[in-house]
Symmetry: C2
Subunit: 160 residues, 2 copies
């Protein structure tokens, strides 16, 4: 198991997607701006997430991303595993019969701990996490800007 800032970025982005979702797709540009994560980096992360069916992309204007399945069915472990690939680090190859019993001992212990962490993260899903925050109805959800493509004066895109 591995839990780095990369996984954190992914979880944060998925959390944002969960909050903003429901009324049409969410663009990476929005997430990028809100969460302060570079757009291209988000694209890379979402390529991983899409590979694991955790998100579904819609191309073209008005496009963006949806969650790949209901928020209740996406665990934190799912997200982290998708981007922060699992590092199997035992030197004895994970098999029980390595000569040196002492070496395997701590390996087994670590593996047990690792499993516990994994199970824990598997037990938390996006919906729960959002629910627990209890901030869903306080205007924290971004206003959908009028989806008409007349964002000529918003300044975020090149002048049209």
């Amino acid at each position: 198991m591995r839990l780095s800032t990369k996984g954190r970025y992914a979880v944060t982005a998925m959390l944002d997607l969960t909050l903003q979702g429901g009324e049409g797709p969410v663009t990476l540009a929005e997430i990028s701006e809100t969460q302060g994560i570079s757009l291209s980096y988000l694209e890379q992360l979402f390529a991983c997430l899409r590979g694991k069916q955790l998100v579904r992309g819609v191309r073209g204007p008005g496009g963006g991303y949806y969650l790949g399945r209901p928020a209740e069915e996406i665990s934190i472990a799912d997200i982290i595993c998708a981007v922060d690939e699992w590092v199997e680090f035992t030197r004895c190859g994970g098999k029980r019969d390595c000569k040196d019993g002492k070496r395997c001992l701590t390996h087994n212990l670590w593996d047990e701990l690792s499993s516990e962490i994994f199970n824990f993260l598997s037990s938390i899903n996006l919906a729960e996490l959002v629910e627990r925050g209890g901030l869903k109805e306080e205007g924290c959800i971004r206003e959908k800007e009028n989806s008409e493509l007349l964002v000529s004066e918003s300044g975020k895109t090149r002048a049209a």
Copy 2:
């Protein structure tokens, strides 16, 4: 919270120390050999652990390391925090009153998750982990080589 191979090394080493401890100090050279971690790297990790009072070093021949306090009082979180320093990554500085309510939302959610992971790891101590492995009495504990300094033919040190 961060959970990388560095933290894993530290936990593994502390686990080893817990198992071998009780009858005198354990040298880093032993841990290095048993766990396959470079000696100098262990020294760096133990410098961190010592700074947080998790271990106590004894110099000179026959020296080594003891746990800084009973194994029951050392949690996995203690160990990981000592070596894998806590990355505070919120862009709003952790304060609740940042202008943009939306940004803080996911940050708070993440912080909550982070706290949960921390609490979880805090709830597991070294003694429990060793107990759970159930391997304490299976010859997994290293034999203490005769502490006499006559290791002339062991070949591990430069010929004396």
